[in-house]
Symmetry: C2
Subunit: 427 residues, 2 copies
């Protein structure tokens, strides 16, 4: 038999315990924060019929990035590239039984066929947190407040990130009412706004001119005003009539009351997915070594009705663990690894049955303990214990019956104690 590769599948990652420890730290903070707001966990299948993405997720995601295949029964299925269509399907399926506001979250794995790069992996883990059945921006404020809370609970400070906010209806208002573009031009301009950060000023102006079909100096000035505004009161007065602007004003006020400081308006924020209908937001890392989008979300009031239900309004977001990992790493916020059992039993001269009995008693008292059942020499066992970064070692030899030597590695002490005393010490 030829030798198999030890490498993981391209673009995916093996999480050894040290890596999984960091991911679990992130998962735990996510869980604690969103459960604090009353979100309940759900789970959805890793495969879905391709149709549920084709409906509203956007062409790039469906055509280029989705792992899609035909199953043995001839169905075209996709490994989920995101959760929003699945949870919308689930809400539609129980729309009568659910009570609203319905607050739901999940932590799950997804796959996208992307060119692997820093922070982008083909398999990735995301928190999805969504609130259903609230039309008012109260819901948008709650989701964004949780985004802020998560980064703070992970140790981030207000100036470590900025939350950029826009609104899909306001985007439309800017394009049609304010800039006076027709539908085709508006669509082109939205795409150009979206690319704003990636192209030069002169390229931007040239392409904008091509969209207008003329050299309308007035419109360039208008666009410049939109692009330079980072607060809503910097926007031109002609936009005051837009309902969507008033909604954003309420949202900004609510966020201020909630203590969310790092919020700015960003006219170029579009978000790629087709299903957003109102607020869109994206959280950006401000660190020079990780100056990029961390995650985002928004309101998608039309998706549940795609599953044959009456419309149910929805707001959600989806932070990924790899991006958060980078956010922590560049700030030294990554927690130091601890093994699940910080106590180990070193077994002298094959006193295995005694060691097993001691371990069993300690576990019953709630102490996590591993036993070195390798049958190697004492010095090798000790070396392994130190390498594992345990805090305590218990020595069990054939002469030991009632008391056992407990070594505290931090305090550098050794003491003979009964199992009950050891349990009390370590609990």
């Amino acid at each position: 038999m030829s030798t198999l590769s030890t490498q993981p599948y391209k673009g995916t990652r093996d999480y050894y315990p040290e890596d999984k420890f960091i991911q679990n730290h992130i998962f735990n903070v996510w869980r604690r924060v969103v459960e604090g707001y009353g979100y309940d966990e759900y789970g959805a299948p890793m495969l879905e019929p391709i149709d549920i993405y084709a409906a509203k997720s956007g062409q790039e995601l469906v055509n280029d990035q989705t792992y899609v295949f035909t199953d043995r029964g001839g169905r075209t299925v996709a490994i989920r590239p995101e959760m929003t269509p699945s949870i919308s399907r689930m809400v539609a399926g129980r729309r009568q039984e659910l009570s609203y506001p319905a607050r739901l979250y999940s932590i799950a794995n997804f796959m996208r066929y992307e060119r692997p790069q820093r922070g982008r992996e083909r398999e990735f883990w995301q928190l999805n947190v969504d609130i259903f059945g609230v039309d008012h921006v109260e819901a948008d404020a709650e989701i964004i407040t949780m985004a802020d809370d998560i980064l703070k609970q992970l140790g981030g400070k207000s100036d470590d990130y900025v939350i950029r906010i826009n609104n899909r209806q306001f985007i439309n208002y800017m394009m049609v009412q304010y800039l006076g573009l027709d539908d085709v031009q508006a669509q082109q301009m939205v795409k150009l706004f979206d690319r704003r950060g990636k192209i030069t000023q002169s390229d931007f102006e040239e392409q904008a001119g091509l969209i207008f079909g003329d050299e309308n100096g007035d419109r360039f000035q208008k666009i410049e005003q939109l692009l330079s505004a980072t607060t809503l009161d910097q926007l031109p007065d002609e936009l005051r009539g837009a309902d969507s602007l008033q909604q954003m004003e309420t949202l900004f006020t609510k966020l201020k009351i909630a203590g969310v400081e790092s919020v700015v308006f960003d006219a170029t924020l579009m978000r790629g997915l087709d299903y957003y209908t109102g607020t869109v937001f994206e959280v950006f890392d401000t660190h020079p070594e990780n100056n990029r989008s961390l995650f985002g979300g928004g309101r998608y009031d039309g998706l549940v009705s795609a599953f044959g239900a009456e419309p149910i309004s929805a707001v959600g977001m989806a932070p990924g663990s790899t991006m958060i990992e980078n956010f922590l790493a560049v700030r030294d916020l990554t927690p130091a690894y601890r093994p699940s059992a910080s106590t180990t039993i070193v077994v002298i001269d094959e006193a295995h049955d005694t060691a097993a009995a001691v371990a069993s008693s300690l576990r019953k008292a709630g102490v996590a303990v591993s036993v070195d059942i390798s049958r190697r020499k004492l010095d090798k066992q000790l070396k392994t214990a130190l390498k594992r970064a345990v805090s305590h070692i218990i020595f069990v030899g054939p002469e030991d019956t009632d008391t056992f030597m407990l070594k505290d590695l931090a305090a550098e002490t050794e003491e003979r104690l009964s199992v009950e005393q050891i349990a009390a010490r370590l609990a």
Copy 2:
């Protein structure tokens, strides 16, 4: 746009919060038990090259049950149908860096293309717990002790299940040394033993006779002796010479010391997967309504070396959550659902900013609380709160500033309290 189905993909399951709550209960017990023995969590990709299963998992799993497809880069990949090949690959990849015994666990989702039936779903969740680098049955005993511990921690009693044990080397000894079969006959007899529980005694005898190629009455008697033994001392003396029998005797002794009571020998226990090399075991539910295999495991000393590493011995098991769910359900051991926040704020006359401030203070004090931001009438909000099975309701109206009415639904009391007092009461 035509309406999309709200049904999950065939053979998979939507876990609404009530379902996820039960699964999380199982996950939490798994985690607590195995971490108590010093197992550290890892994660592996959901896709693997098909080769790693083709090597040793057995033909049925690879050819009939695996979700396999060609990715956009032309690679043949499989959605993992099990974890053992992945963790063996990971151990092989870091064989130098790992310290032994290496104790590793994961809780992950898998897919198999099976005919959906009770307890069998196409997507399923499993605990995988494996110990690497221990030749001695000490390791086998630890894994089986954890199996026992998990069922007890879930509320099971010793007579709720039976752990059947056999040994792959002993199977070979029985077939070749004891029954005198050649390789081909031995293989056929192993398959017949495996089907023993599913066919009649006369069918079994007829097929056994076909394998012998004669009517050897002596061999029928020998087989009968093997099949009727449930303890090792009931086995014929001619088998005493087998090393594998002595290993099983040591294993049974260790399990007895560890307090594992429900253990029997079972000559027909084979386990489907090709990679097992020593101990094999399977846990069976004894309840008349759920009389079936719950999960199993065993020793697979050869798998790591398939990845080009020197052999590293390994023992593991893989309980699935659906089987455990059934084990709990038939015994009324399923925990009652509790929402993540057992306190909710009912908002009177749109006092939303005050409600948000109260909620924020409570969360900072560690109290999980949801706010009813639906802007519906008081009676509707109350109805929702009761439906959600919360334990406490806080009423926040426009007149409330320093104190708020706290309603304790179990005690049927109402009290006006400050936020600090409410936090102290609910923490």
